[in-house]
């Protein structure tokens, strides 16, 4: 059932492209991020990090650092004063105690009067280590006899106690022949996989590997904590994606009540899942002890060394089908590199393989493996790029084996409303088929024979291919609340507690403007801190517009009702006869009989006024999420002699339910595809044999440049979502998901080779090409 306002609204604004309210401040450099706040007397902190990937700490001697002028304090796990934790969450145990488990693991925090002095202090802290064998590769770490990644804590025991993973009580996590570094997660099943494989006349099996990848947001991790001079109250400015999440973590770690902690809203320079809570408890503990503001801003090297990147994976996909092209079995073995801490999103990863196609028999076994690397975290559609690279590459291979059109195969098996869902229930109305149809009618696909022959002159001799891949994101939901206040000038303020990471404010403003009949510039979205904000969870999962947008819609509707009540009395007209347009309430059909919003405000806010102030309150608890799908097409050129790849053209279809601010939706697609090109062709954190990071700068860690990203054509598909505001679904996550698979499938088309390792580097392509040329025609090769 659609909301009343959706039926009423004439949708004059929804679907237009409107500029962002925060755009000018950000482009001109006037936006004040967490790191731009420099209160009087602020101290600067720097980390002392472990040069070893695995070692015992014998002794930490801070005396040389403390002797330096300007160094105020050196904190270690022993004197930081945090509550003891179970070791499952890094932010609650930010400094290593007696064992370091990854190169970059912080062992001490030096606080000084300036950043330079803190750096000097950090260099002067003496740490005596006893190096231990390290294990870096997640597949190697699974093998019995592999070195233990952490000796002082049992990984499986930590997982069982971790709340983040939602493991059912009594989950064993054991499996024969598996090192104690590895935990077998509860399998996902539908039907009987043995039956599905028996029915299959064609079976395709491939093994894939992906690399750890950093979120590479522009603004580094930043925390400033300002303690009250007289009480145990802390004010926090942080680059976090969730204000209440930061408050809860600090309260838990320091043993304070939540009311003692005030997290202020500040603009965030990108997060992509990598900025939940990381350094807040550490800096808060230092500030609380020193009674002075303390600020810690990561360098780019610290980001790459001691951030929380997306996990490395090793994935085996086995697909079975009958000769007529009926998919009978999907079997997956997924190894997830947890890093040194439990990867909180591990439970989600297996579902990706059940989220595209109808298949009666399905078995997905995931393993979470501890290694001597920083803990893995979310990155835009967590594990989506890895999973769909594996799944969609294998589907492409299956289609080739069966001689089937890859689009027709996908259309035939695409999930539709009412299909059974793993682990239970049915799929709601979704737009996968519509996305497939949208790319199918685009010339890049429908005229691909012609398009394939079109090659820029300077690339003569290169081979061209076109690849298709689908991907999805199940969406997320969380209760949310919002307020909507009428101002005396007739404008409206929407009050929220979300962190705007992606331009979601512009969509929230549009929702309120649409409901209230106001021009969008007359709606201002204001962010409150944790003291006063209406409830809002982490900005994550593509749920801000979907879940918080519903609350804003309800708040605006509430305000609208209040405005109508006042206006109907002022105009002596029935409510049903009134309409809201351009900041006025007008009697329908009598254009000169109206009251302005200013008049409504004057009658509800002035001294002695008759009516209660217009103050809309909206709450939402969307019971289910709104699944999203994207289908991409890539046209690539590749020089088989050198392995160089150029992405020449790109089409991205995506079901967004309803595009509220079309410009922002397109922006999400451009950004997601650009990041996906990094996943596909360039980005990887490389570790040496002993676990040292070899890619500690943006020279070595290769992000895509502007010239690596082609022109991208977004095809916006709108299959309305029942609970989303005006039918909107989320938009942020899906555009990164199918990119690596689409480019891999395009390379397969160009070269006749299956690349199975991300990133697909020039040298991997050359090696695969030479192997195939020399007659060693295996259908797959690593990079």
């Amino acid at each position: 059932m659609l909301h009343e306002a959706q039926r009423q609204a004439s949708s004059v604004l929804i679907g237009t492209a409107l500029p962002r309210q925060d755009g000018e401040a950000k482009v001109s450099g006037r936006a004040r991020y967490a790191g731009d706040h420099l209160p009087a007397g602020v101290l600067h902190a720097r980390l002392v990090t472990s040069p070893y990937a695995h070692a015992f700490i014998r002794r930490i001697n801070p005396s040389a650092a403390l002797a330096l002028p300007g160094v105020v304090a050196v904190f270690t796990a022993a004197n930081l004063g945090l509550r003891s934790s179970d070791g499952s969450v890094r932010s609650l145990e930010p400094l290593a105690g007696t064992e370091v488990c990854w190169c970059g693991h912080p062992v001490a925090l030096v606080v000084a009067e300036t950043e330079a002095l803190a750096e000097d202090g950090a260099a002067a802290v003496e740490v005596d280590y006893e190096p231990l064998p390290a294990v870096l590769d997640p597949e190697a770490a699974c093998r019995p006899g592999a070195p233990r990644a952490c000796l002082q804590r049992d990984f499986r025991e930590t997982l069982r106690q971790s709340h983040a993973l939602f493991l059912p009580p009594g989950t064993s996590l054991e499996e024969e022949g598996l090192s104690p570094n590895a935990a077998a997660l509860p399998p996902l099943r539908m039907g009987k996989i043995e039956e599905g494989l028996r029915e299959a006349e064609v079976i395709v099996e491939e093994h894939y590997r992906t690399s750890p990848v950093h979120q590479s947001y522009l603004e580094p991790q930043t925390v400033l904590v300002v303690p009250d001079a007289h009480t145990r109250q802390l004010t926090i400015y942080s680059s976090t994606q969730g204000l209440l999440n930061a408050r809860r973590a600090v309260a838990l770690a320091l043993g304070l009540s939540e009311r003692q902690i005030h997290v202020e809203p500040v603009p965030v320079g990108g997060g992509f899942g990598g900025k939940e809570v990381l350094l807040e408890p550490l800096v808060a503990a230092a500030a609380l002890q020193l009674r002075r503001p303390v600020r810690l801003v990561y360098t780019r090297q610290e980001e790459l060394l001691a951030g929380n990147p997306a996990p490395q994976t090793a994935i085996t996909v086995k697909l079975g089908a009958r000769r007529d092209g009926t998919l009978t079995a999907i079997q997956v073995r997924l190894i997830l590199d947890s890093g040194a801490y439990p990867y909180p999103l591990a439970g989600l990863s297996g579902f990706h393989f059940s989220n595209l196609y109808r298949c009666p028999h399905l078995a997905i076994q995931s393993y979470l493996v501890q290694t001597n690397k920083p803990g893995s975290a979310a990155y835009r559609a967590p594990t989506g790029p890895q999973a769909y690279f594996a799944l969609e590459s294998t589907v492409d291979e299956l289609c080739r084996r069966l001689g089937l059109d890859p689009l027709a195969f996908r259309l035939r098996h695409a999930l539709r409303e009412g299909d059974a869902r793993v682990p239970g229930g049915r799929w709601p109305r979704i737009g996968l088929v519509e996305c497939l149809e949208a790319v199918g009618s685009h010339p890049l696909w429908s005229e691909r024979e012609r398009v394939r022959s079109e090659l820029p002159a300077e690339l003569s001799g290169w081979r061209v291919g076109i690849g298709l891949a689908a991907g999805g994101w199940p969406g997320a939901t969380e209760p949310a609340a919002a307020l909507c206040r009428l101002e005396s000038d007739g404008s409206c303020t929407v009050i929220v507690g979300s962190v705007d990471m992606s331009g979601s404010d512009s969509s929230l403003a549009l929702i309120a403007a649409e409901v209230l009949g106001l021009p969008p510039r007359a709606v201002t979205v204001v962010h409150e801190g944790t003291d006063t904000m209406p409830y809002s969870g982490l900005t994550a999962g593509s749920k801000t517009t979907y879940a918080l947008g519903s609350a804003v819609l309800a708040a605006a509707q509430d305000a609208r009702e209040q405005i109508l009540t006042i206006a109907s009395e002022l105009l002596e007209a029935a409510r049903e006869d009134l309409e809201l347009r351009d900041g006025r309430v007008t009697v329908r059909g009598v254009p000169d009989k109206y009251v302005t919003f200013q008049q409504v405000a004057a009658n509800s806010t002035n001294f002695g006024a008759r009516y209660a102030p217009v103050f809309g309150r909206g709450r939402s608890a969307n019971a289910t999420s709104g699944p999203m799908f994207a289908v991409h097409l890539a046209k690539v050129a590749v020089d088989p002699e050198t392995g160089e790849v150029r992405v020449l053209d790109y089409v991205a279809a995506q079901d967004v339910g309803r595009a509220l601010n079309r410009g922002e939706v397109e922006g999400q697609i451009y950004g997601g595809v650009a990041q996906g090109i990094g996943w596909a062709l360039q980005e990887r954190l490389v570790y040496g044999e002993e676990g040292q990071l070899l890619t500690g700068t943006l020279m070595d860690y290769a992000l895509p440049h502007s010239q690596d990203v082609p022109s991208i054509t977004p095809l916006i598909v709108e299959v309305p979502c029942e609970l989303g505001p005006f039918g909107a679904r989320g938009a942020g996550e899906p555009p990164v998901v199918p990119v690596a698979a689409a480019i891999g499938n395009a390379l397969r088309d160009a070269l006749g080779l299956r690349l199975t390792e991300l990133p697909m580097t020039p040298e991997g392509i050359v090696r695969a090409w030479q192997e195939s040329e020399s007659g060693n025609r295996t259908p797959s090769a690593g990079s």
Partner: protein, 335 residues
């Protein structure tokens, strides 16, 4: 945060003042022009000079002048941008314009000079890292350590010559002038280089590279191809500079092939050059020459992308550079 170590900065106004300051301050002083290589290296503590002598104000290091029939003088303080944009260089020494334009990014080319690029410190995965990283891996012989981490049994350092303009200037047979209080010397640019990653230049600590002389260009064609991961920013993992002079009958009168980023110095492919001279450039010959030239490339596993890949790509890039020059000539008709 990477910080510069403490140092004094001196800003002489003339070349003689600069050479005097370098002599007075001794080996603790280093000259700095654009600073795009030196300053990041100082932040990582590869260099910790107590004194920097700034070359920016020296007019003796400025200017590009000459003509294709007498040759061209380039002041060592000219920026890479001004070299890549200069009409004389673009028209008659295109390899140099291409190489200068291929260095890093526009911002760094606006600051970085050709003298600084020629004297770029050699690079290695185990060396161009922060102090923290080098400490964590146990330091190498090029700075603070005693062994080579690329080839642990080796008595020498294998850091790579990574300047784009250096192989081009070798192929163009440039000469350079070095000035110090002890006097001046003008040498073929090859003699500026040592095959030693630790001490890659014959320049003495008190010498300033003042200018570069390009010989007459009439009859010559040249080009430069650069292999790297991305189309900007990245250092070369292979540079191929080729200069050819054709005889009126189409035979190759003279040929210079120089490889960059395959050793601690720019490497001339003598055997390949000799094989080309006096010959008609048939596809078979060009392939043979490319294979011969590539033999001179002995990369080690100390740069971006793997050693195997860099080896494989060398003959392909040499062949492509040769093809470009031969085809261009045939396309436009021999001069």
């Amino acid at each position: 945060m990477l910080r510069l170590p403490p140092f004094r900065y001196l800003a002489p106004r003339t070349l003689s003042e600069a050479t005097r300051l370098l002599a007075e301050e001794g080996p603790q002083a280093m000259p700095v022009a654009g600073g795009t290589d030196l300053l990041p290296n100082m932040k990582r503590r590869q260099f910790t000079p107590a004194v920097l002598v700034g070359l920016r104000r020296l007019r003796e290091l400025k200017g590009i002048s000459g003509s294709p029939d007498v040759g061209v003088r380039i002041g060592a303080g000219e920026t890479l941008t001004s070299i890549s944009n200069h009409p004389l260089i673009r028209a008659h020494y295109p390899a140099l314009a291409l190489a200068a334009a291929a260095v890093s990014t526009p911002q760094l080319r606006n600051a970085g000079t050709i003298g600084g690029n020629i004297l770029l410190d050699t690079r290695c995965n185990y060396y161009n890292q922060t102090e923290f990283w080098r400490h964590s891996i146990g330091y190498c012989m090029k700075r603070d350590g005693s062994i080579c981490l690329v080839a642990p049994g080796s008595p020498r350092c294998w850091a790579i010559s990574s300047a784009d303009t250096a192989p081009v200037l070798v192929a163009l047979q440039a000469r350079v002038r070095l000035v110090s209080v002890r006097g001046e010397r003008e040498i073929p640019i090859q003699e500026l280089f040592y095959d030693d990653g630790m001490r890659p230049y014959t320049r003495e600590a008190d010498e300033i590279l003042q200018e570069i002389w390009l010989p007459p260009a009439l009859g010559w064609r040249s080009t430069y191809l650069k292999l790297r991961r991305r189309g900007s920013f990245d250092f070369p993992i292979l540079g191929v500079a080729v200069a050819l002079r054709r005889e009126p009958d189409g035979r190759i009168g003279d040929a210079r092939i120089t490889l960059g980023a395959v050793a601690s110095h720019p490497v001339e492919a003598e055997e390949a050059m000799a094989r080309l001279r006096g010959q008609q450039p048939t596809p078979t010959l060009l392939q043979e020459v490319a294979t011969l030239a590539a033999k001179r490339a002995r990369p080690l596993d100390n740069a971006d992308l793997t050693i195997t890949y860099r080896k494989q790509l060398t003959p392909i890039y040499v062949r492509r550079a040769l093809d470009l020059l031969v085809e261009a000539e045939q396309g436009s008709g021999a001069e």
